[in-house]
Amino acid sequence: MATVTAGKAVHLPGARGQGRRTSESWLRRIPLLPALLFTILITQIPFLLTIYYSLQSWNIAKPGSPHWVGLNNYGAVFSDPVFYAAVLHTIEITFGSVLIATLLGLGLALLLDRKFLGRGLARTLLISPFLIMPAAAALLWKTTMLDPVYGIVNWVIGWFGFAPVAFTTSQPLASVIATVVWQWTPFEMLILLAGLQSQPRDVLEAARVDGASAWSTFRELTLPHLRSYLELGVLLGAIYVVNTFDAIYMITQGGPGTATTNLPFYIYQRAFEGFDIGQAAALGVVTVVGTIIVATIALRTVFQVFIENEARA
């Protein structure tokens, strides 16, 4: 490692002599080390240990010390129908929530990009859902919003002649997604609004003078400009939403049955309700591997945030 980095340092412009270069490049690296070591220690070592535990049969509620079972836990995971359901629900919740939140966020950002009376206040109110504690938001949606008898949503759909719906039991996945969308739409809106407001005004003005329609201006100027902001919003949103736990724990407890069990909630159940360390760990490893594959493909193909960074360097 040291030799590799020292070799690299020689190619830095404006350098004077190998010895000084090496020591200086190490000096420059020192401020980075505490954060790097801390991150490796707290976030990476546990993942390695997860692999180790996934090869053990160990139920902390049952007597008997853990023992080596090889890949048995993985066999159990891949023959477990709940696992496949959890994978599907994780994809549905992440994809559905991020997609809807981004589209709604884009709409709100476009609205807020125009001047209107009380725009500042509207923006303040609109970011509020993102600031509400997710556990509290989930409880409030479950009760005051979605309750079949006293919930606001049923009251509103009643105006249009719809019969009340017991959303959290008959539409559990949609209930969870609605709550997540409500919380993450302001986040997407803020990122996209920053993108819209960084757009050069004179270019838009020129397009308008040239007689371009609002739609073609949006499609040919605004959308390409927003691309990196959209990517960042989707990326960060997905990173957080894929871990959705609070809403499921509070609203449905993964049910009815396993209708809303996603991977985080299933791992939680295996570990803290089933006390099955080995299987929970195997589930964790499978989840991580799956996430790495999806994230790598996404970053290499769709997202250019990192690629553009590279070009800039």
Partner: protein, 290 residues
């Protein structure tokens, strides 16, 4: 003469008409924006309103907008022992945010001001740790924390919250450092400023708003964190989200009381976010894309 005047008049009218139309569409879009705002804000409004209701008014169909406001539910929430939970949340949030800033600032400095080899790999490493689902690490974390006797302790939460927020903080801080103009540094160096002066007099004042934005976002995530708190704490170190769960299960679902507890749990972050929304926007857009 008359025709000229008429021409001028039609011209003026022609100019005025699009302006009126523009204003009308402006008002129409403004109305749409406010309509959307009201829909999105309504659950928050309803939470706050419900928290001041007597329990009987919380359950009603159609919903009650007018009632005799009461602080009774807030009193009951406090007498249910919310104080320590609030304190735990505050301690875990503040100390973890300070730790994050202490670790992330030098790291971001190293990654931006004096570029080192492999800075991109380091940056990518930080953000990639965020992509790994945290649940996958809960088993070893739980066992390790249990084995060293640190279950149900605030320091455990502080360490985990610091690790949880560090990648985002490094990423954000780096983009704020990149905004420090190179000429300013050059000028300071030519004036003979050493590293310490360069940092305290040039760099830190420029990135101070960025530090505030980073701190706010990390504070939001730490304050709202539920998963670690649920699994690693029980009584002594439990935080506000855990209080909400316990409150719901022990008291049953009383909506007005729940709304009061939820409001109290959300108000610190809500007010901080409202006050610092400009920093929030800057922090979220991260300047990284500029």
């Amino acid at each position: 003469m008359a025709t000229v005047a008429a021409n001028a008049r039609t011209q003026r009218a022609g100019r005025r008409r699009p302006r009126i139309r523009q204003r009308l569409t402006g008002v129409a879009w403004g109305t749409v924006a406010w309509f959307a705002t009201i829909i999105f804000f309504f659950p928050v409004f309803w939470m706050i309103l419900t928290s001041f209701k007597p329990e009987s008014a919380a359950y009603s169909n159609p919903p009650q907008f007018a009632f005799h406001p009461t602080l009774n539910e807030y009193k009951q929430v406090f007498s249910a022992g919310m104080g320590p939970f609030l304190a735990n949340s505050a301690i875990a949030t503040v100390i973890s945010v300070l730790l994050v800033l202490a670790l992330a600032t030098p790291a971001a400095y190293a990654l931006s001001m004096r570029p080192i080899a492999h800075w991109r790999d380091a940056l990518f490493f930080f953000i990639s740790t965020k992509m790994l689902p945290v649940v996958a690490a809960i088993v070893p974390i739980y066992l390790a924390v249990r084995d060293i006797g640190m279950l149900d302790s605030i320091p455990t939460l502080i360490v985990l919250y610091t690790a949880m927020n560090l990648p985002i903080a490094v990423w954000m801080m780096r983009s704020f450092f990149l905004e420090v103009p190179g000429e300013m540094l050059e000028a300071a160096r030519i004036d003979g400023a050493d590293l310490r002066h360069e940092l305290t007099e040039v760099v830190l004042p420029t990135v101070a708003p960025g530090l505030a934005a980073t701190a706010l976002i990390c504070a939001i995530f730490a304050w709202n964190e539920f998963f670690f708190a649920l699994n690693l704490t029980s009584i002594r170190a439990a935080t506000m989200p855990v209080f909400l769960v316990g409150f719901v299960t022990s008291e049953g679902l009383y909506w007005a009381k729940l709304a009061a507890a939820a409001t109290l749990a959300s108000v610190p972050v809500l007010i901080a976010g409202w006050i610092a929304q400009r920093q929030l926007v800057r922090g979220l857009s991260m300047g990284a894309i500029k």
